[in-house]
């Protein structure tokens, strides 16, 4: 009974993670603009890998493997969104299209780049 539960949980999480990853890959190849592609890639990295690793934790043999996998999840949840944020910031900094627009409300005044 418990083995069946573990198996079902593992397969369910893994399958959903794989579906999300496939969606994100399709999005990366479908979109043209940087921010759209970045959005798709970040979604795949965070949610898809979270589901895959959660599925793996349910079939882990001992508690240490579970802890290591949780640590990897924490790491990925730190790393991937921050990477996407940096890419977006670089795009906004470089692309002249964004510099013509007024800054969104609530942003602090930027220091001079000199």
């Amino acid at each position: 009974m418990l083995d069946w539960l573990r198996f079902l949980l593992t397969t369910g999480f893994l399958l959903s993670g794989i579906i999300i990853l496939i969606t994100s890959v399709i999005g990366v190849y479908k979109f043209d603009y940087v921010l759209n592609r970045m959005h798709a890639a970040a979604m795949g990295d965070t949610l898809g890998l979270l589901f895959c690793l959660l599925g793996l934790t349910f079939s882990a043999p001992d508690i240490w493997t579970v802890l290591k996998l949780l640590l990897i999840i924490v790491f990925l949840w730190f790393a991937s969104p921050v990477n996407s944020h940096l890419i977006a910031r670089l795009e906004v900094t470089i692309n002249p299209m964004w510099q013509q627009l007024p800054p969104p409300p609530g942003t602090p005044a930027e220091e001079d780049n000199e």
């Binding site: 640590l71 790491f75 730190f78 790393a79 921050v82 944020h85 940096l86 910031r89 670089l90 900094t93 470089i94 780049n113 000199e114």
Partner: protein
């Protein structure tokens, strides 16, 4: 008194008398002048000779200096024009000879070696069997790979670490932007820093916050992998790469000013130098004592404990330090051209 005398001299009689005796008095004056004035200098022959000799000497000296300068100038010109060509030709010839010699030696060695994949060679049978069977007893390392690369084939690993160090030094020579003679930052450095400010994330709150959480974890994980290299998969190379990744994350988040507080070119040089020389000395000691499972005075400990397997853990630490420094220096040089 003088007044009286002048009165006396200005009397009419005296005036007449003076007028009368004027010629004699003029003669007297001339004689007195001749007597009072010093005699004309005599022509000193020796002094003139000496002066002439000194003039000749100084002229010769100047001439010799000029000749020397001309020689130096000619040498410089030769070095710049024909000498450079000659030296480069000599260099090319020597390099060709050395390269051909190496090729001949290596081809000779390859011809002497057994065929690749031959099942009857000792490399395919005895060596791997010995590594697997006796590796734990002889090296004390549970991780057989660590026992192989840091005990049986430690010389090869020393070469790899040295190659990393040499590569980092070469990149340092090529890409480093120096300060000028007054100690001010060069124009390229200022340009690089302004580019850096424009294109790189500087003072990004989100990145800084995540780096503050992640950097200690990454560094600890890298140190764990280095220290546990003889017990689990990992070791100096992979652990050093992870440590350098943590350092690079810190550098990206907080900039060169804060990272320069604990890591400069001097740090890189000394850490690499001490790690490599420690590695070389430790393995030289092991080789000198026989190296092949002979007693070298270093206890192997119980297999599986953290303090076991003799020299493997210190060597892992040395390799990890070299690798971490090298990768960090690579990143810093390619991004800014300095540390």
């Amino acid at each position: 008194m003088s007044k009286r005398r002048s009165d006396w001299e200005s009397r009419p009689q005296a005036r007449v008398r003076r007028w009368f005796y004027k010629g004699f008095l003029a003669l007297d004056d001339e004689i007195a002048e001749k007597i009072s004035s010093p005699p004309p200098p005599r022509f000193d022959y020796e002094e003139a000779l000496e002066a002439q000799q000194a003039a000749i000497d100084s002229r010769q000296h100047e001439r010799s200096i000029a000749i020397e300068r001309l020689d130096q100038h000619n040498l410089l010109v030769w070095m710049r024009t024909r000498g450079r060509k000659a030296i480069s030709r000599l260099y090319v010839a020597l390099a060709l000879v050395l390269g051909l010699m190496m090729m001949v030696f290596l081809l000779e060695t390859v011809a002497l070696m057994p065929r690749f994949g031959d099942p009857a060679t000792p490399g395919a049978n005895e060596v791997s069997a010995r590594y697997i069977e006796k590796g734990l007893d002889e090296t004390g390392a549970v991780n057989i790979v660590a026992g192989m690369i840091l005990d049986y084939r430690a010389f090869d690993t020393l070469g790899e670490s040295t190659v990393l160090f040499i590569a980092a030094s070469a990149v340092l020579i090529l890409l480093r932007i120096d300060h000028d003679k007054e100690g001010n930052p060069a124009q390229e450095l200022i340009a690089a820093e302004s580019d850096d400010r424009h294109y790189e994330p500087r003072d990004d709150r989100i990145l800084q916050g995540s780096a503050m959480v992640l950097t200690p974890i990454i560094l600890l994980y890298g140190i764990y992998i280095i220290l546990n290299g003889h017990l689990s998969p990992g070791g100096g190379f992979s652990g050093g790469a992870i440590v350098s990744a943590g350092l690079i994350l810190y550098l990206v988040a907080f900039g060169f000013e804060k990272a320069g507080r604990f890591f400069t070119t001097k740090t890189f040089t000394w850490v690499s130098f001490f790690s490599l020389s420690f590695y070389a000395l430790a393995k030289a000691y092991a080789f000198y004592m026989g190296a092949n499972g002979l007693p070298s005075g270093i206890p192997l400990g119980t297999p599986g404990a953290i303090l076991s397997s003799g020299l493997i853990m210190p060597l892992n630490i040395a390799v990890g330090m070299v690798v971490a420094c090298t990768m960090y220096v690579f990143y810093a040089l390619f991004r800014k051209g300095g540390l």
